[in-house]
C-alpha cells in the first residue's frame, strides 16, 4: 500500500471518528447521569441543517456554530423536560425526538438542499507537527473542530474520574436516591447533563455538514447518530475507549471507499455496509453476556427519579 493511500485512509478515519465522537461523548455524559437519548441521529440532523442554513445565509461560521449550540440546547431541554420532569419512558421519548427532529430538519432545510455554501471549516496545518511522517498529515492537517476534540477527550476523562462534579456524575446514574438524601439536586444535575449531551450531538451534526461532507441533503448524517449511540455501549461509557471505537469504524468505512476502486466487480453498496456490520458485531460482543456488565452500564440508566418512590 502506498503511503498516500494509507494517509488518505487514516485521515478519513479521523474525520469519521470525530463526526461520531461529539455525539458519543455527549451521550456518555447523559447516560452517566441516568438518561438515555435514542434521538441522537435526529439531533445531529438538526445541528447539521441549522449550521448549514446560517452558513449559507449569513456567511459566518461563528454565528453558525452559535446557532447549532442553541438548537442543541433547546432540543436537550425538551428531552429533559419529557424524561426528567414528566418521567416519560426514555425509549419512547427518544423515538419521538428522533422522528420529530429528522422530519423537522428536512422541512427547514428545503431551501438549502443541494445549495453550495462556499463556506466550511478548512483544514489548518499545525506548523512543525504536520511534518511528522504519516501521523503529521493524518492528525495535524485537520480542521478546528477536530483539534477541539483532541482537548475534549482528555478533559472529559479527567472530569469524570478526577473531579468532585465527576464523582457526583458517576453517582447520579447509579443511585440518585442516595445523592438526593445527601442534599444534591438530582433533577437539576440531570437536566444539565442531558442538555450538554444534546449540544455536543448537535455540534457533531454541524461537523458533518460544515467540515466533513460540506453540503446539506435530507437525512445526510446517514446513521452516524446511531453509530455514536452504539459507540457509548461499545466503549463501556469511557470516552477514551470511544476514541478507539470511532477510529475503528472510521477506518473500516474509509477502507470501504478505497477498496471499491480495487474491486470494481463487487457492488459498492457491499462496502458501504461495512461500518454498520461492524457496529452490529461490536454491539453483540459488548452488550451480550460476555463480560461483567456491572462495571459498565449505570444502574439507574433509563429509570426516572421519583422522590416519592424511595
Amino acid at each position: 500500500m502506498s503511503s498516500t493511500l494509507l494517509i488518505s485512509i487514516l485521515s478519513m478515519a479521523v474525520l469519521y471518528a470525530v463526526s461520531v465522537l461529539y455525539g458519543a461523548v455527549g451521550e456518555i455524559f447523559a447516560e452517566k447521569a441516568g438518561v438515555m437519548n435514542l434521538g441522537l441521529e435526529g439531533i445531529m440532523l438538526m445541528g447539521a441543517v441549522s449550521g448549514y442554513l446560517v452558513a449559507v445565509n449569513q456567511k459566518n461560521l461563528g454565528l453558525a456554530m452559535l446557532t447549532v449550540v442553541l438548537v442543541g440546547a433547546v432540543l436537550g431541554l425538551i428531552f429533559a423536560f419529557l424524561t426528567i420532569t414528566l418521567q416519560a419512558d426514555q425509549t419512547v421519548a427518544g423515538m419521538a425526538m428522533l422522528t420529530f427532529s429528522t422530519g423537522m430538519s428536512g422541512f427547514i432545510g428545503k431551501s438549502v438542499s443541494g445549495v453550495n455554501a462556499n463556506l466550511a471549516f478548512e483544514a489548518i496545518s499545525i506548523p512543525g507537527l504536520c511534518r511528522i511522517p504519516i501521523l503529521g498529515p493524518v492528525l495535524f492537517q485537520q480542521n478546528i473542530l477536530v483539534y477541539l476534540m483532541y482537548f475534549i477527550i482528555p478533559l472529559s476523562v479527567f472530569y469524570i474520574n478526577h473531579t468532585r462534579p465527576g464523582m457526583i456524575l458517576r453517582a447520579l446514574g447509579e443511585n440518585p436516591a442516595a445523592l438526593d438524601s445527601a442534599g444534591y439536586n438530582v433533577f437539576a444535575l440531570r437536566y444539565a447533563y442531558v442538555v450538554f449531551g444534546s449540544v455536543m450531538t448537535a455540534v457533531g451534526g454541524a461537523f458533518v455538514s460544515l467540515a466533513y461532507t460540506n453540503f446539506w441533503s435530507d437525512g445526510m448524517t446517514s446513521g452516524k447518530g446511531w453509530i455514536a449511540f452504539a459507540l457509548v455501549v461499545f466503549s463501556s461509557w469511557n470516552p477514551l475507549t470511544a476514541v478507539f471505537g470511532g477510529l475503528l469504524f472510521g477506518a473500516i468505512s474509509a477502507i470501504g471507499v478505497d477498496i471499491q476502486t480495487l474491486f470494481p466487480a463487487i457492488p459498492s453498496q457491499i462496502f458501504a455496509t461495512l461500518p454498520y456490520i461492524a457496529t452490529i458485531i461490536a454491539l453483540v460482543f459488548t452488550t451480550g453476556n460476555f463480560r461483567n456488565r456491572r462495571s459498565a452500564a449505570p444502574a439507574a440508566l433509563t429509570i426516572p427519579y421519583d422522590r416519592e418512590k424511595r
Binding site: 464523582m167 457526583i168 453517582a171 447509579e174 442516595a178 445523592l179 442534599g183
Partner: protein
C-alpha cells in the same frame, strides 16, 4: 447511663383518620443502646421519621440537650447530629467507600485526591474502632460491611444520635452479632444509639433500655435488668384474651391431605432459610402459621407452591410425592396459592379482569379451543365471580391494577377457589385490606374449610390466627418452634414461641386430635 441527649414529648402523628403515633414520649441518653420494639405497624418507623424530619408531627415537642428544637427537614436532623441508617442503604455501589463517604459529607474542592480522602476516612474509622477499607468498591462488600460504611458515614458527619431501622433484618446471625458489637463501641464512646426492632431476643440481649410501642402508643419502657421475655411479650402482643373462635362448623376428617417432612430451603441470598420443617394438614383443617414476618413465611409458601426448590426433605400431597413437581403439576394436584404480594405473584396488574381469571388455566379446554381463547366463557365466568364474591370494579376490560386492594384480593381468591383446590396456601390474605373486605376474605376461607378444603393460613396477627385456625405452628428464624391445638394454648405461649422459645412440652400437637 450518660446525660439525657434527646427527649420526645407527647408526639402525635396522624395520616387522615389513621393514628400512627399518639402521645408518644421517648427519652434517649448518651452511652446507651435504646431499642424501639413493636410489631409491624406499631408506629416505630413513624416516630423515627418524625425525629429525622421526614414527617412533621401534629403535636408534641422534641428537645435536644435540653433545648426545644424543630426538625422540619432531613437537613435539620443532620445539623442536630441525628443520623439514620435506612434498611435500604444509601450507597453508590460503583464508588469506593471513601468516595461514598466524601459524597455525603464533603461538598467542597473541585479536584479529587483519593489518597488524602482515604487517609482521612481511615483515620476517622480507626478513631471509632470501626474497620472499613476506604479503597474498597462498595458492591464488592458484604451487606454487613456496607452497613458499617453507612455508620462510618454518619459518624464522619458528626452524628451523635444514630438510628438504625431493623438493622439485623438483612444480616446473617454472625453479622448481626458483629453489628451489635460495633453499636456497643459507639455507645461506649458517648453516642446514643436507637435500634428499631421487632425481635424480642435481639433486644433483650443487646439493648440497655427498651421502649415498646403498640398501636401507636407507648406501651411500656424499661431498663434491661427489669426486662423479661414475659414482660416484653405482654407489651408487644397486648393483654387481650383471644379465646373467641370464629369456627362454628368444622368438617375435619382424619386423612392427611398435605405433609412436609424435614424440609430445608434457601432464601434469595442463598442462605439457609427454612430448617427442618415438618408438619401435616388434615382434610378440612385450617392450619395457622404464626410468627413475625420475615422468619421464613415467604419461603415456606413458595416451597409449597413449587416456586422455590427444597434443598432436602419431602413434600407430599394426597399420597403423591410432590418434592420435585413443577408449579403447574402442584396446581393440578389441587394446591392453590394466595401469595403475600398479590400484585406481583398473584395477579398481573396491567391485564384485565377476565384475563386474570384464566392466568392459572388458560390452556384448559374451558377457556381455549385450538389455540384460541374463548372470550364468551371468560366473560361469563367473570360475571359469575363478580356476583358471587361481590367484587366491585369499573369494567371487565380495565386493568385490575386500578381496582382497590380488597377487590383485587377477592378476584384472586375467587380464581384460586374456583379450581376446587384441596389445599389453599393463604399468605397474609387480609394484609392492607379494610375491615369489610378482610371479613369477606376470612368468610370465604372458612366456607371452603367447611366444604372440606384444607387451608394453610399464614399471618402475623395473633387474634386472627386464634379466631381462624384449628392448629397453630410457630415459625421463628426459619424453624418451627412447635405446634399447638388452638384450644389448648393461649396468645402468651404463642408469643413466647414467636420470640424463639422452643416448647417441646406434653402439649405438643403433632396432629389434630
Amino acid at each position: 447511663m450518660g446525660e439525657l441527649i434527646l427527649e420526645m414529648k407527647n408526639i402525635t402523628k396522624t395520616f387522615g383518620s389513621v393514628i400512627a403515633n399518639q402521645d408518644v414520649c421517648l427519652k434517649v441518653y448518651a452511652k446507651e443502646i435504646h431499642a424501639l420494639l413493636g410489631e409491624n405497624g406499631a408506629g416505630k418507623s413513624t416516630l423515627m421519621n418524625v425525629l429525622t424530619g421526614i414527617y412533621r408531627p401534629d403535636s408534641g415537642q422534641i428537645f435536644c440537650h435540653g433545648k426545644e428544637v424543630s426538625v422540619n427537614s432531613p437537613k435539620d436532623a443532620v445539623d442536630l447530629g441525628i443520623g439514620m441508617v435506612h434498611q435500604h442503604f444509601r450507597l453508590i455501589p460503583t464508588l469506593t467507600v471513601a468516595e461514598n463517604i466524601s459524597l455525603y459529607t464533603e461538598k467542597k474542592g473541585f479536584l479529587l485526591n483519593p489518597a488524602k480522602m482515604q487517609k482521612r476516612i481511615a483515620e476517622c474509622s480507626r478513631s471509632f474502632n470501626l474497620e472499613v477499607d476506604p479503597a474498597a468498591v462498595v458492591w464488592q462488600l458484604s451487606v454487613g460491611e456496607q452497613q458499617r460504611v453507612e455508620i462510618v458515614k454518619l459518624l464522619y458527619h458528626g452524628a451523635e444520635i444514630l438510628i438504625l431501622d431493623e438493622p439485623s433484618a438483612v444480616l446473617t446471625p454472625q453479622e448481626a452479632q458483629d453489628m451489635f458489637n460495633v453499636l456497643r463501641k459507639m455507645a461506649d464512646s458517648g453516642k446514643a444509639v436507637i435500634v428499631i426492632s421487632h425481635k424480642m431476643n435481639e433486644v433483650l440481649n443487646n439493648a440497655d433500655r427498651i421502649t415498646v410501642l403498640k398501636d401507636g402508643r407507648m406501651e411500656d419502657t424499661m431498663v434491661r435488668k427489669d426486662a423479661t421475655l414475659d414482660r416484653l411479650t405482654r407489651a408487644v402482643v397486648g393483654k387481650q384474651d383471644y379465646k373467641e373462635h370464629f369456627r362454628t362448623q368444622k368438617n375435619i376428617s382424619p386423612d392427611v391431605v398435605f405433609s412436609m417432612e424435614h424440609v430445608c430451603a434457601k432464601n434469595d441470598r442463598n442462605l439457609d432459610e427454612l430448617k427442618d420443617i415438618s408438619f401435616d394438614i388434615r382434610r378440612g383443617e385450617i392450619f395457622g402459621i404464626a410468627g413475625v414476618a420475615g422468619n421464613g413465611q415467604r419461603e415456606l409458601s413458595e416451597v409449597i407452591a413449587g416456586l422455590r426448590p427444597v434443598t432436602s426433605g419431602k413434600i407430599m400431597a394426597d399420597g403423591a410425592d410432590l418434592t420435585c413437581a413443577s408449579a403447574r403439576e402442584r396446581r393440578e394436584k389441587g394446591i392453590a396459592l394466595i401469595p403475600e404480594d398479590r400484585l406481583e405473584t398473584g395477579l398481573v396488574p396491567d391485564l384485565n379482569f377476565s384475563e386474570n381469571i384464566i392466568l392459572t388455566r388458560y390452556s384448559s379446554s374451558r377457556y381455549s379451543r385450538k389455540g384460541f381463547l374463548r372470550f364468551d366463557r371468560m366473560r361469563r365466568d367473570a360475571e359469575d365471580y363478580t356476583k358471587e364474591y361481590e367484587i366491585r370494579h369499573g369494567g371487565f376490560d380495565l386493568p385490575v391494577g386500578l381496582m382497590s386492594g380488597g377487590n383485587q384480593q377477592k378476584l384472586l381468591l375467587a380464581r384460586e377457589v374456583s379450581g376446587n383446590p384441596k389445599l389453599i396456601v393463604a399468605a397474609y390474605p387480609v394484609r392492607g385490606l379494610d375491615i369489610g373486605a378482610a371479613d369477606m376474605i376470612r368468610q370465604i376461607l372458612l366456607q371452603q374449610s367447611e366444604k372440606g378444603t384444607s387451608v394453610l393460613f399464614i399471618s402475623e396477627e395473633l387474634d386472627e390466627i386464634f379466631h381462624m385456625c384449628d392448629r397453630i405452628g410457630v415459625l421463628c428464624d426459619g424453624e418451627l418452634m412447635g405446634i399447638r391445638n388452638t384450644s389448648e394454648t393461649d396468645v402468651f405461649e404463642i408469643g413466647q414461641m414467636m420470640a424463639g422459645e422452643r416448647k417441646n412440652s406434653e402439649k405438643e400437637a403433632s396432629s389434630y386430635a
